[in-house]
Structure formats: structure tokens, C-alpha cells
Symmetry: C2
Subunit: 202 residues, 2 copies
């Protein structure tokens, strides 16, 4: 967390349009402010006025930057996605490189389910249709990651098809009604994922 | 097929609001006409005027009944879904009752993928968001069916979670770009489903 909005933006992972650094700082400051409001008051607490006040910028800046509340939530989600990508692409094992591919796949699914469950209210508020919730490149990055680990496992299978199916399982928690996403249910979903992966790659 | 629109409507499966029989006949005649147009000219060939002419009813009747083109497609999909339900609930094995639960589960996924792939253009045209493409009771019927077969297999597992995951895999073909749903790809998706089911229930 960055309670004073003074840290620079996280370096973006993957291709991104270049941003002037003052614009990037502005964006980071606004998103930090939005995250603080979400943490304290929930999603309902985020208004364009309140966000401008919290970040110490004009309301016009907030609108130019995000367009709408849904745009703020979409930008927050992009940040969450980038952070998650950093964890599985270059973070510590077993999620990051260095562990056995099957263990990495198990860890990946568990982490993904947790991130999705935690972000589900934000995803709903971002008002993206399900098809677009994992846009290129986010969806592609995840699919490539799963396919790579499947290949590394050395088990003979139709990698694109199985990767596609496993990706579907990981998107499923999003379709769960919000009330169902209890911590106990999240653990059971993770256990279910692990069972699936270990059975497939036995 | 019913090229002259003279057969009575299929008996509805599952709870349905009662329909006067002339209304039901009208609906069946309209849907048969719509299906004929789709078969000959594709989805783009369906217009409210053309449908009225093909069914030999007034245009007002078509609008009152379906509201819009998307409504026509949604009604066609409901019919497809009811027909599919009849096949797995009471049709011949291995899809219907009488076969081993694992074989039924394998057959179910293969049949579901085929139906989904064939209906994908219709589903897109029906403009239902993904979340609503399998509305209660259709989605619930499928989930209960999968859960029942999992229980019957006698393998010890978290049935609701695994049923939920398997359902996600079967919804995935819908998310495939249309161009990707070749017959060869559909077979590979079916093989992938079979591998998943047999691995889980070994």
C-alpha cells in the first residue's frame, strides 16, 4: 500500500502504450486513492467527486482519465492483473519459476481462484461482459502460461485443448453468485482444481 | 424436420407456463418457419417480415410473440435445449439412462460440445450475455445431471465443486471464436473432455 500516493507507478508488464511520467504518476495517485476508498468503504463508496478529493486533483482530471466509475474499476483490475502476472512470471516458487511444473500449475490455479474471488465485486462493478473480463493480453498470458506448464510436465496430451479447458475452470469462480464465494468455498474450489490437475497429469 | 409446419409442438420438458393449444401451435409453426430460414439462408436471412410470410401469419403476431429477432433466436435455443434435455434424461444410452455413469458423463460432454458448437451462431444472435445463456432451469438441469452421474460413479470427491468445474469446461466452447469451431476442433474438445472425466474418475 501507498497511503500518501507518493510511490511511482509499478512498471507495466507486457506491451503498453508509453505514458508520460507525470501522467503515469497521476494515474498511480488516482488508483491508490481509489483503492484506499474501496478498502475503507467498499465499492459503493467510490464516486468521481470523492476520488478527486481523495487524490487531491480536479474532478475533470478524474473524468478525462477514466471516463466513468466503471472505468476506474477497470483500471484497478488492470493493475491487479499486472501484479498477478508478475507473481507467476517472475515471483518466488511454487507460483513463480523454479518449482516442478505440476506444482506450479496447482499453485497457479489456487492463486488465480483467490485473486478472482477477491476481485469479483470489482469485476462486476467494472461492468465488463464476461467475454472481455480477461482481455488480450491478460487472457492470452494466462493461457500461454498454463500451456507452457502442461508441456513442461512431459505428459502427452492435446495441450491447446486441455489448456483451454483448465482456463475455463479458472474463470468459473466469476460466475458464482457473490454470496457463494466464502473463504471455505474458495478453499474447496482450490482443492477441486488441484484434484483436476493431478488427475490429468498423473 | 417438419417442412410443412404441420406437426404439433414437442411436449415441453420441465416446468413451463401453461399455453393455450392454439397459441402453442402458432409458436411451433413460427419456430419451424424460423428454423427453415436458418437452415436455408443462415441467421442473417431471418427477418420479422420474412418470418411472418414463411409461417403464413401477420407480422404483428411475430412481434407479439417474440418481440425482436433476438427473441426469435432465444426461442429457437429454448427448443434446442429442451430437445437436448430429453436426450440425456430419457433417451437411449450411453447418453440416456442405462449405461455406466462414467460412460454417460463422457457421452454427455461430447454431445453437449456438439450441440453448443452447432448453436453457437444462434447463441450469439440471441444476444444473451454469457451468464444468461444457460438460464435456470437449463443450467440447473445440466449441473444436477453432472452431479448425479459423479455421485453414481462411487468415486469420492467434492461433488458440487467438481460438477461446477466440469460445467465450466462445457461452457467454454461458446467462448471460442466462431472460426475456431471446426469439426476437427469439436472432436478434439470432446477428446479433451473424455480425458478429463476418465482421469478424475479413475
Amino acid at each position: 500500500m501507498d497511503p500518501h500516493g507518493l510511490l511511482p507507478a509499478r512498471p507495466p508488464i507486457g506491451p503498453q502504450p508509453p505514458e508520460r511520467s507525470d501522467a503515469a504518476r497521476n494515474r498511480a495517485r488516482l488508483l491508490d486513492a481509489a483503492q484506499r476508498i474501496v478498502d475503507c468503504e467498499g465499492i459503493a463508496g467510490v464516486t468521481m467527486d470523492g476520488l478527486a478529493a481523495e487524490a487531491g486533483v480536479g474532478k475533470g482530471t478524474v473524468f478525462r482519465r477514466f471516463g466513468s466509475r466503471a472505468g476506474v474499476f477497470a483500471a484497478l483490475l488492470d493493475d491487479v492483473e499486472r501484479e498477478f502476472q508478475a507473481r507467476f512470471l517472475s515471483g518466488p516458487p511454487p507460483l513463480g519459476p523454479g518449482a516442478d511444473p505440476v506444482e506450479r500449475l496447482v499453485a497457479f490455479g489456487r492463486a488465480r481462484i483467490e485473486v478472482l474471488a477477491r476481485q469479483a465485486p470489482l469485476m462486476r462493478a467494472a461492468e465488463r461482459p464476461v467475454e472481455e473480463r480477461f482481455e488480450v493480453p491478460a487472457r492470452v498470458v494466462v493461457e500461454v502460461h498454463i500451456a507452457t506448464l502442461l508441456r513442461q510436465s512431459g505428459v502427452e496430451l492435446d495441450v491447446p485443448v486441455i489448456a483451454f479447458e483448465l482456463l475455463a475452470v479458472l474463470e468459473a469462480p466469476l460466475l458464482l453468485p457473490e454470496a457463494d464465494l466464502t473463504p471455505a468455498k474458495i478453499i474447496r474450489l482450490g482443492d477441486g482444481w488441484e484434484r483436476l490437475v493431478r488427475a490429468l497429469l498423473r
